[in-house]
Symmetry: C2
Subunit: 296 residues, 2 copies
């Protein structure tokens, strides 16, 4: 990771943490337990890659920091909800996440299901609220784009494919499509959100989409590599899971070396889409190169 | 049920069914299984009370039928998502719903969790789409109001209280609050949605809220009575569940006779709030009287 990215990511993470905290105040009454679970699932961890993409893309179009941060928090909540539900016994049945117990292990399954539901719902509330943008058209566009990225033709559809992949062998084309839906759609929306907030011209918006598209795939290949080469201490979650389940991944299909080369190629390609911004998007370009070499 | 309500509800149900069907087209690819589960959870059953409230309240303000129907479908999707998740083994662990197998019994738990997630997400997509209303301000307001009604300070919070109620004895005040969150918030939003779509004056909007508030409680007391007095054949779901779990309900706290009297009183009170509409809201008034005497 470049020093400037390290510094920017650390500063942004602290701000994102504080903003998420402020959006998840504990209510009075026994239902506070639900918000406790939402907080547990959201606060104190994670790379904050998606919200960082929102903040950085928003900067390209001089979007007010408070607007960008609300969109960033909404996307992180959707990401965290998806982790909570993915970790459930009926899904991936994971006990650890980000180095601590998964939400259903810390609370219970029913609370985890509800906390995920409520985080997803809260994300739409954040986006639709007038504080996010003075123009209701922009708020409605954000809601629409997030719902498309997160729903049956986006993340949830990708998750369905992932479940199917556990019993049905998939080829490289199918794996690529799975990942484009499962992780790519939300990452693409993250990079695009700044353009939506800034009412950017469509050329800039498309460049960010293309960037995020390649970034998302590179990110996923790196994730598959980490599952093979990483260890639980570094990654904060169980590794060697895919092989144990005999699950087709980029690495099982391409082999470690070709997979790594492919990830690097995608990262370079992602960075190149942003040449359009003539040096204003260097941190986003650094992100692309970092995700393929990260250790967690 | 009055003959005019019977006729109107039957006609609306058929239209709602067709509209939901059109919003849940099967995609290509193996992830179609997810949409199959969403369709299973949504189509072919239910009283369609909530979407009917939307359609009826929209008529009071001359809202375009296509706008009202989109909002109606969104609310029904949220309702159906909540049933799918409530029925899960970790929650109520129900095998039957609307006289057929629950979604996780028909498919599997993981698919049911995802189908619920995707239905919730789809609801926001429906509302945010330009086809719902020409004014983006209205669309953003609908999204905001639905997210508040469905989230941690609405339905999901009520569901949390419901889980807590299984182990902690609640008094009448707490039960009332539980139900106001768990079912009341979405019912209130349903009645209010027409006013939002029609940019109704706040007096009319508040009257509909007050109506729906009383209606929601009356509805829930009737539900508790059905759990005690109904049978699975008529209700399409298991009965005597609350007593078996020793769970405090309006009926266990008030007794059958006082609970029924209370439900009727609330229904009359609900209807009275609509006198403001001088005879234009008679079907909504009929609804209030019907929900307390229904058999399923």
């Amino acid at each position: 990771m470049t020093p400037r990215l390290h510094q920017a990511l650390a500063a942004a993470s602290a701000e994102i943490e504080a903003a998420l905290d402020s959006h998840l105040k504990l209510p009075d009454g026994p239902e506070a337990r639900l918000v406790e679970a939402m907080r547990y699932a959201t606060l104190g961890g994670g790379k904050r890659l998606r919200p960082f993409l929102v903040l950085q893309s928003a900067q390209l179009f001089n979007v007010a920091a408070s607007s960008a941060m609300r969109a960033a928090c909404a996307i992180e909540m959707v990401h965290c909800y998806s982790l909570v539900h993915d970790d459930l016994p009926a899904m991936d049945n994971d006990d650890t996440r980000r180095g601590k117990a998964t939400t259903h292990r810390q609370f219970d399954e029913a609370t985890a299901i509800l906390a995920g539901d409520a985080l997803l719902t809260r994300a739409f509330k954040l986006l639709a609220h007038p504080a996010t943008h003075g123009d209701a058209q922009v708020r409605a566009e954000l809601v629409l784009a997030l719902s498309e990225a997160a729903g049956a033709s986006g993340m949830a559809g990708g998750q369905m494919l992932d479940l199917i992949a556990e019993t049905t062998p998939l080829d490289l084309g199918a794996i690529t499509r799975l990942q484009r839906l499962k992780t790519g759609a939300i990452i693409a929306f993250s990079a695009e959100a700044g353009a939506l907030l800034g009412k950017a011209p469509s050329q800039a918006r498309l460049a960010l989409r293309a960037y995020a598209h390649d970034l998302g795939l590179a990110f996923q290949i790196a994730d598959d590599l980490l599952d093979v080469e990483g260890n639980e201490q570094e990654t904060g979650k169980k590794t060697q899971k895919d092989a144990a389940r005999n699950k087709a991944t980029f690495v099982s299909l391409l082999g470690v070396e070709r997979a790594r080369a492919q990830a690097r190629l995608l990262a370079e390609q992602a960075a190149k889409h942003l040449d359009l911004f003539a040096g204003k998007a260097e941190l986003l370009q650094d992100v692309a190169r970092w995700v393929v070499d990260r250790r967690n």
